[in-house]
Subunit: 191 residues, 4 copies
DNA sequence: CATGAATGAGAGTTCATTCAT
DNA sequence: GATGAATGAACTCTCATTCAT
């Protein structure tokens, strides 16, 4: 596939992404994508065989924050509290963002369309739990935090965020509610 | 509708419930239901116009635990801790149960099939948060718990449970993990 | 399926038969049948899942002459020669008929569309060979024919007829040629 | 077309031939050929416009035995019986060979894909009948054979062989069956 | 009330064929 | 000459929904 093919693939992925954000996973068909991209039926099938395949590709390309890559971009002399604060800010942004892929993502993994392919949702959760646990552990070592088990505390933060994300999809979650919850968890870490 | 009609409706609801548990929401069609019920196509449409309508009805009939109705069934002289303990046990059971409607329920609200109808997921969450908050408040008043804001603490418990439920659907959650999280939250309430 | 359903099935089979005779097997699509029958797409699929299924059904219903059922309809006191003569006349008619199913039939079995279903072409050939062999044997016993092996002679007649049928499909076979061949074989049986 | 072009054409023809032998005529598409040859779509269309065109070309190039070219390769002083014997051996080999073009060849002429082009099957049959008839006639003249009409006898042999070939495609034909039939015809020629 | 045959819109998928590069 | 991305027509198949009986 030449540069032109890459561009077309890019077009398909970007356009589909918009559709998935707007309509979720199951409500988007190959036909919808063909029409929105203004390409031919056959043209789409040159690059992708199904909406699942397209969606997987989009998920792979989707940038995502972790505390690990967060540490690389914050100031060298930042305290652990500062880093965790930034991380929770990012989570908050994700929870409150109305239009992104999280809707389609949950739907995708729930409707069983991910048969036979790696479960990115699970993998990322585990990576995230590891990284966050390390961060909290360091905070404890430095005396910034007090906690008996950094792994459980890390998972607790992630489960609350998951809960908030889900709640934001199926009903409405105010910024205030998110702030309250994040503060509450924060409180559980302070001396 | 006579008694005969009621019976048919019952049949449809029970049979569909099995299908929804097994295949989720979107993967069940009116055709599937007709075939599994062994009734006529027209017969189904006499009672329900769509799978959404059937699903809504099932959700309405679905029994669910809340701390309020829990208080009615526990011993009069139970401590608040005992009641909350029972409640969390019930949540744990729900999280770890593989085959029930929670899968289809999330899918239903996520795929936007609930257009124009009351969002039961949201309503119940709010009711639950209220009841749980009252319970915790009473626990604080009685000196069993220590906490600054019973509403936030209540929501925290519910968000963690939501997060665990979601995680149990998209990947795997061990009983140990659930125990850890519930203990962790419990710890946040103790003096 | 009620009487109405049977009628519809009949309509589909008769219409498809015409199409198969005219265009062969592979050139007829489910769409063609739907259009020629003037029924709906879904309507056709209620009765048949594929052109193969329709074709098989047609073949099953197709009347066919064998010497066995020929014996039942000829006069009681006919000589074996007379019966064989009638049989060869029938074969001749089949060979020279331009528009019937034989075209589609060979195509069907040749294009491998009969995967997993009984090979009627083969079964009938064998039945036919048996019956014809019996007939010749009786002719030999009665002194009408002279031959060393009635089975081989029977097969010989059938193979020549097959050869003529094929030739009549891929090129042109004159009535004279058929007469010559039938006479030639006849000669091989006479004292 | 240069030498390079000739080579490409050769490649296309040889590769397609394999495909036709394996899958028959109708089941091979231009796409299949392009992929198996590992050439470009456009590249194929430079040389051939359709699978029919390719198939015709293959048939033209296909070597085939006739009694005429057989006479050239047998010993000068062979008896006619010996020549006919060799010829029938060759036919037998053709009938029993599972994987060659005969399958696709019948399919091709039967599915009407040879519209507007010369019918090689027919031409060759006629050539063959002529040559075989001459051979038998010579045998009669030399006193090796006894027969009233060499043309009819020749055609008889060919029709039986055709019948056997068809039977070998749609069902199964044992070597024994072929031997029996060839002997039977042979018997019809002997004094 | 109840039936189930019938409809037709729409999704998926494949390929012959073209044409700008 | 050669390429291969792109097109679009054609076909298969499924379901929600209706309606005569």
């Amino acid at each position: 596939m030449g540069a032109k093919g890459e561009k077309k693939k890019e077009l398909i992925l970007n356009t589909s992404r918009d559709l998935f954000i707007k309509y979720g996973f199951k409500n988007v068909t190959m036909k919808d994508i063909v029409e929105k991209c203004e390409i031919s039926r056959g043209g789409l099938y040159l690059y992708f065989q199904s909406t699942s395949e397209i969606f997987e590709e989009i998920l792979k390309n989707e940038p995502y924050f972790t505390c690990r890559n967060l540490r690389k971009i914050v100031k060298k002399d930042s305290s652990i509290s500062e880093i965790l604060g930034s991380y929770l800010e990012e989570q908050k942004r994700e929870i409150l963002t109305l239009y992104d892929l999280k809707y389609a993502k949950y739907e995708y993994y729930m409707s069983g369309s991910n048969k036979g392919s790696e479960n990115i949702l699970k993998t990322r959760f585990e990576e995230e739990a590891d990284a966050l646990s390390d961060l909290i552990k360091e905070g404890i070592d430095r005396g910034e935090f007090v906690n008996d088990d950094s792994v459980i505390a890390a998972k607790n933060i992630l489960y609350v965020c998951e809960g908030l994300k889900i709640a934001s999809l199926t009903s409405v979650v105010s910024e205030e509610t998110v702030n309250e919850q994040l503060s509450y968890m924060w409180g559980g870490l302070l001396p």
